[in-house]
Amino acid sequence: MTTHYLVLSALLFAIGGVGVLVRRNAIVVFMCVELMLNACNLAFVTFARQNGNLDGQVIAFFVMIVAAAEVVIGLAIIVTIFRTRRSASVDDVSLLKY
């Protein structure tokens, strides 16, 4: 029955991935990445249960912390560029190309 959880996590991961591809707003894109991380967490926890050891659950905590740190950095950067350009659309930042 754990497979359902795995499927769900895969689904979430996919949604997150697609979200990154389709959404323009940097914040949303970033949220999608977070979603992917959480999908991973779900997978970890599930596997922890499946394998009957705690590592997976421990790892989940690690991931959350890392994700939190990522948020800090991420928002800092996104906010800066928003202040500069008055827009959070990732499609506007395309000076560097070719």
């Binding site: 795995l6 996590s9 991961f13 997150g16 991935g17 990154v20 940097a26 894109v29 970033f30 990445v33 992917m36 991380l37 999908a39 991973c40 997978a43 970890f44 599930t46 596997f47 499946q50 394998n51 050891n53 590592d55 997976g56 790892i59 690690f62 991931v63 890392v66 740190a69 990522e70 950095i73 991420g74 800092a76 950067i77 996104i78 800066t80 560029i81 202040r83 500069t84 350009r85 990732v90 930042v93 395309s94 000076l95 560097l96 190309k97």
Partner: protein, 517 residues
């Protein structure tokens, strides 16, 4: 298991270099918090340099004292020959980058201030500076040290993030061309996070497959566990995505040119040298140790990736007009060449050792030359800061022959002309590959490097054979640090090109026992 958790044992001595760097970083943060502004950089610089030097010394002491054959910290971190060698390399490169950072020129006064705004003006006036740069850099270096030494995927993931997050910030702190710098930061951040998500998911799947994230255990599981191969393959692939992203292998190379171009040059130097070395260390460990039993499966895949990377790197570089962007593509191409070494695993330990030796040597050679090249880039400036556009480099050979000569020498090393370090790097890797039957790959490799030679040569032509532009860029008198870096890099490139034996021996002893299992 009965729920009780016994306290872990940690070999602090083995991890000393890591701890020194991280410790220094935290001290740095405290300095930011409590030291008065005017003192900060005065404290930071010696602190950073000393910590790096100290870490290096410790690493050397470690190596002299005898390389441990057991993973440390409950099997989380493996301080083995290759790891120590890579540590040494990264620390030297980081040291060099710090020397480049030293002259504040490169970094923005107030990152929060909107470009062209009053605040920025004011920041300039009161000569404000973001001294956080140093602790950030130390954190990044710490991550770089941890990444290749991580013996389980979780540590690897954490190390990856610890290495990346500070870099994301540092990318955005360029003093000039701030829009580009910030853009680089955003791109690097989003894509980095994206790719690390893949890495994590891969970890999860492998955990699901092997029931552990410990590389050794995973490797053992490869044989035993059956029926879940799909899990394994997809997991391994996802893991690969994360790692290949960091080396900038095609098709995951797209971030490299933009980020290298946008970032402050010293940071570019650090990323192009340190990050690459670290990433390759990790890649090697994951694929040789974690998926060692799987090599018949991943070798063909990496085969394709290597070819694609070399070709894309070489071909796209030809038409670049921005020096940093061109170097970025060149580093992509070199990533491809290095991948050849990763693939050149054989059946006997000796064969693997020679492959690993070649790879390590290549990393050293390439790292030093790269730092040197970017150091030169920082010195060629005009009104708007560094003169990035190649057309501005025309006739540099006449205005300042020495600098142009050195740079030309670096370029020749990149192109792999004999009597430069680059040649022996390529040679060592190619030889290992041929010895292990990857000759076709090598042939593609040499063709690619012939193509690559074109754009290195093109720059030389610009610098020496074409006449200088009237308002050509001026070469700033280098600060002592920068001069030292350039000199050191040039020296390394010569010495490794003429007498590679000592370093080869060193790499060989490091690779002797391969990675601990």
């Amino acid at each position: 298991m009965n729920g009780t958790i016994e306290a872990p044992t940690i070999e602090y001595a083995l991890l000393a270099p890591l701890l020194v760097v991280f410790g220094a970083a935290i001290v740095g943060v405290l300095v930011e918090a409590f030291a008065p502004r005017y003192l900060r950089s005065a404290i930071h610089l010696p602190l950073t340099l000393l910590s790096l030097a100290g870490a290096f010394a410790l690493a050397v002491w470690q190596a002299v004292k005898g390389v441990p054959t057991e993973p440390a910290a409950m099997g989380a971190i493996a301080v083995d020959g290759p790891a120590l060698f890579i540590w040494g390399t990264i620390l030297i490169l980081a040291f060099a980058s710090v020397l480049l950072i030293k002259d504040e020129e490169h970094f923005v006064g107030a990152a929060a201030a909107v470009p062209g705004s009053a605040e920025e003006e004011q920041a300039l006036v009161e000569r404000a500076a973001h001294t956080e740069v140093y602790p950030l850099l130390l954190f990044a270096v710490g991550g770089m040290l941890l990444f290749p030494a991580a013996n389980d995927l979780l540590v690897a993931f954490v190390a990856l993030e610890v290495m990346s997050l500070p870099l994301y910030l540092l990318c955005g702190l360029a003093r000039r061309r701030r829009l580009l710098s910030q853009e680089a930061a955003v791109k690097y951040f989003l894509l980095g996070a994206f790719s690390s998500a893949f890495f994590l998911y891969g970890t999860a799947l492998l955990y699901g497959y092997a029931g552990s994230v410990d590389l050794v255990k995973i490797n053992q599981a490869l044989g035993s566990v059956g029926g879940q191969d799909t899990l394994l393959y997809i997991g391994a692939a996802m893991l690969g995505v994360g790692l290949l992203f960091k080396i900038g292998a095609a098709p995951f190379q797209s971030w490299k040119p933009d980020v290298y171009q946008g970032s402050p040059t010293p940071i570019t130097a650090l990323m192009a040298s340190g990050t690459l070395v670290a990433a390759f260390g990790a890649l090697l460990r994951v694929f040789w140790v974690g998926l060692g039993g799987l090599d018949w499966d991943w070798r063909p895949v990496l085969y394709g990736v290597a070819i694609l990377t070399m070709v894309v790197g070489a071909i796209l570089a030809i038409t670049q007009t921005d020096i940093k962007r061109m170097l970025a593509y060149s580093s992509i191409a070199h990533g491809g060449f290095l991948l050849i070494g990763v693939i050149a695993t054989g059946h006997t330990q000796a064969e693997n050792t020679s492959a690993l030796t070649g790879l390590l040597f290549y990393l050293v050679a390439y790292g030093f030359t790269t730092v040197g090249a970017f150091a030169v880039v920082t010195m060629v400036r005009d009104a708007g800061g560094e003169a990035w556009h190649l057309s501005r480099w025309a006739g540099l050979g006449k205005r300042s022959p020495l600098l142009a000569g050195v740079f030309a020498f670096f370029l020749l090393a990149f192109a792999g002309i004999p009597l430069t370090s680059g040649f022996f790097g390529k040679y060592a890797v190619f030889q290992a590959a041929v010895a292990n039957g990857a000759t076709p790959l090598v042939i593609i490799g040499v063709v690619a490097s012939a193509v690559a030679a074109f754009f290195y040569v093109r720059v030389i032509v610009l610098m020496f054979f074409s006449d200088p532009a009237a308002d050509g860029p001026s070469v700033v008198l280098p600060s002592r640090g920068t001069a030292a870096v350039v000199g050191f890099a040039a020296l390394a490139t010569v010495v490794l090109g003429v007498f590679p034996q000592p370093v080869l021996d060193l790499a060989h002893t490091a690779a002797q026992s391969l990675f601990v299992r």
